[in-house]
């Protein structure tokens, strides 16, 4: 009996995926879908929240709102004193923590050897970052307000903020220093430069923009903090003249944006709805703009890097 001729394989079918292949592809697509949903669940709240806040704040947002002082027991007017107060506190914190933080990072990267002591410092940095903000407030109260006799003042609050945000600046500066190739340092040592000359002449110029990124990040972080300043120098209300650029002395108490938002939304009855929303938008806007700036700077640095 003649064998039945084998049916020629249709070329269209020959390269089709197998059953196993299809299962493989589907499972992959499914996994991707699941994880994509989870990632989307993270992005969406951000967009929704920002949009919602802006919509609710819109009736109150204006230049006038930024430049005016609070009126009628904070139920009207603007946020000028809080805005200036935040600038004071942030600058005060920055003046203290930026030099200490940068130098600490230089020590960790350029001087310290890899031993138990180095690990202890790293541990301390991590722990400092993990201390709850309210404990920082207690520390500021105990150490600066009472022990150092600075009283409830911008100085106390700034110092508290400075110590709180120190880990931010140490971590980011260390990353910036790590990005400078080791060969640069070695070349510099080989021409007879001392350790410090190498740092000043080669390491810092090549990492200064990265350090700046960290400083901006710190500003953003400091501007948003509330708990540490609540008991060390920030007040609910302070009478300030409209448009006064320098309303506070260093020993004064000050209003702050974050504190103002807390006050408006929990302590003052019958506040028009839009006011706290507008304050929240200004605070959020400041913080996110700062952050975006640091991100943009980082991207720009990455494209410009030659090594």
């Amino acid at each position: 009996m003649a064998r039945e001729p084998v049916a020629p394989v249709d070329p269209a079918v020959r390269f089709c995926e197998t059953v196993a292949g299809r299962r493989h592809r589907r499972s992959e697509a499914f996994a991707r879908g699941v994880f994509l949903t989870m990632a989307a669940a993270m992005v969406l709240p951000l967009l929704l929240l920002v949009t919602y806040l802006i919509v609710r704040a819109a009736p109150a947002l204006s230049l006038e709102f930024l430049l005016d002082v609070p009126r009628r027991g904070m139920r009207a007017g603007g946020i000028w004193p809080a805005l200036v107060g935040t600038v004071y506190l942030v600058l005060g914190a920055l003046v203290v923590s930026a030099p200490i933080g940068v130098m600490a990072a230089i020590y960790l990267k350029e001087y310290a050897r890899d031993n138990a002591f180095h690990r202890t410092i790293n541990m301390a940095v991590i722990n400092l970052a993990g201390v709850p903000s309210i404990v920082h407030a207690l520390f500021g109260l105990g150490a600066f307000v009472y022990a150092a006799r600075f009283g409830y003042s911008i100085i106390s609050a700034s110092l508290t903020l400075a110590i709180m945000t120190l880990p931010v600046i140490i971590t980011s500066t260390r990353e910036a220093l790590n990005a400078v190739p080791q060969a640069f340092r070695e070349a510099c040592w080989n021409v007879g430069a001392t350790r410090w000359q190498t740092i000043r002449g080669v390491v810092l110029p090549n990492s200064i923009s990265g350090i700046l990124t960290g400083v901006i990040l710190e500003v953003s972080r400091t501007a948003g903090e509330t708990a540490p300043i609540m008991f060390t120098g920030a007040v609910f209300f302070k009478a300030v003249q409209r448009g006064d650029l320098l309303p506070y002395g260093l020993n004064d108490q000050a209003m702050a944006l974050s504190m103002h938002l807390y006050t408006l939304s929990t302590q003052v009855p019958d506040v028009p709805e839009a006011l706290p929303y507008a304050t929240a938008v200004v605070l959020l806007g400041t913080v996110l703009t700062m952050n975006a700036l640091s991100i943009v700077l980082r991207f720009w640095l990455r494209t410009r890097k030659k090594w």
């Binding site: 996994a31 994880f35 993270m42 230089i106 050897r113 520390f139 410090w196 991100i295």
Partner: protein, 313 residues
């Protein structure tokens, strides 16, 4: 200089001589740098010292018992006749809110970390990382405000609860705050898994899905655990958001829709009213010491877990 590279700069031969002042200045500056280097240790110790110093007198006072402090639910700090400092209700409040937050946050953060590390292209990855960074940057008082306004209304509308500020609200808000932290650390942990693991699994015909839960998750489990721990630490220590979003009832909650107060929120709410050096004031500082120790332990554990990973490799 750390382990790599020569330990000291080149010193053989003669250097061009410098003025004594320059050498002296350099030495002074280097000492300043060393001093800053140890500042982190100094500050951690200082925080403990100063907070403990304010709290210490109450520990030896007769009317105070540590046992009652830790295990009693009766918190009547301002009562005229029956002053009681029992923080069990606050501890349970903290545990409930942070527990719920971590429960919500962990699946989402691990999911997004896996998506970012394994499934998306470089463009999308950069975009998502930026979003994570921005999410992490939102100040806690803004989160608290959102909890107080948006979330509380939502909760009242959906569940019919009498008040919108409760365990559920605080849990969701804290979860939103923890997600970016856990995600970014978890993503780092996943990225640290060598590519050869993935390639080996792929060569055996494993699907992406199989690679994730058979290869990546076991390989990165310590790093992921550390990420979760740091998330817990953040949730326990968070103050403003829970102060505004969880309501103000010091008791052991019976349901998700009960108001509670946490350890952190309690300090923030009452420190302003407690007169300086009173017993109430000192007990609040003692709560601070407790919080410090809790977060310290959590961070220490996270660090040890991560170091365990490094030793294995």
């Amino acid at each position: 200089m750390t382990a790599h590279g020569p330990q000291t700069p080149h010193t053989v031969g003669s250097r061009p001589s410098r003025s004594a002042l320059a050498v002296l200045g350099e030495r002074a500056l280097e000492n300043l740098i060393r001093l800053s280097g140890v500042s982190a240790i100094f500050f951690v110790l200082a925080i403990f010292f100063f907070v403990f110093r304010e709290a210490a007198p109450v520990l030896v006072s007769d009317s105070f018992s540590l046992k009652e402090f830790l295990f009693s639910v009766e918190w009547y700090p301002t009562s005229d006749v029956n002053v009681r400092y029992g923080i069990l209700g606050l501890i349970v409040g903290t545990a409930c809110v942070s527990g719920l937050a971590v429960l919500i946050a962990v699946p989402f953060s691990l999911g997004s970390a896996i998506f970012i590390a394994e499934f998306c292209g470089p463009r999308l990855r950069e975009g998502l990382k930026v979003v994570i960074e921005l999410l992490a940057a939102i100040p806690s008082v803004v989160w608290g405000f959102i909890g107080l306004t948006v979330m509380s209304r939502l909760i009242v509308a959906v569940t019919g609860a009498p008040v919108g500020v409760n365990v559920l609200n605080g849990g969701i808000i804290l979860a939103l705050m923890c997600v970016p932290i856990i995600t970014s650390i978890a993503e780092d942990a996943l990225k640290a898994v060598p590519d050869s693991y993935r390639e080996a699994a792929q060569a055996l015909g494993a699907t992406k899905w199989q690679i994730v839960y058979r290869v990546l998750l076991p390989a990165a489990k310590n790093g992921l655990l550390a990420a979760v721990l740091l998330g817990v630490g953040r949730a326990v220590g968070e103050t403003m958001a829970v102060l505004m979003a969880t309501g103000h009832a010091v008791h052991i909650p019976r349901s998700l829709l009960d108001s509670v107060r946490t350890l952190t929120a309690n300090i923030a709410a009452e420190l302003g009213e407690a007169s300086v050096n009173s017993e109430h004031y000192r007990v609040l500082f003692l709560t601070g010491v407790l919080l410090f120790l809790i977060t310290f332990m959590i961070n220490l554990t996270a660090d040890l877990v991560v170091r365990g990973v490094r030793r294995e490799r």
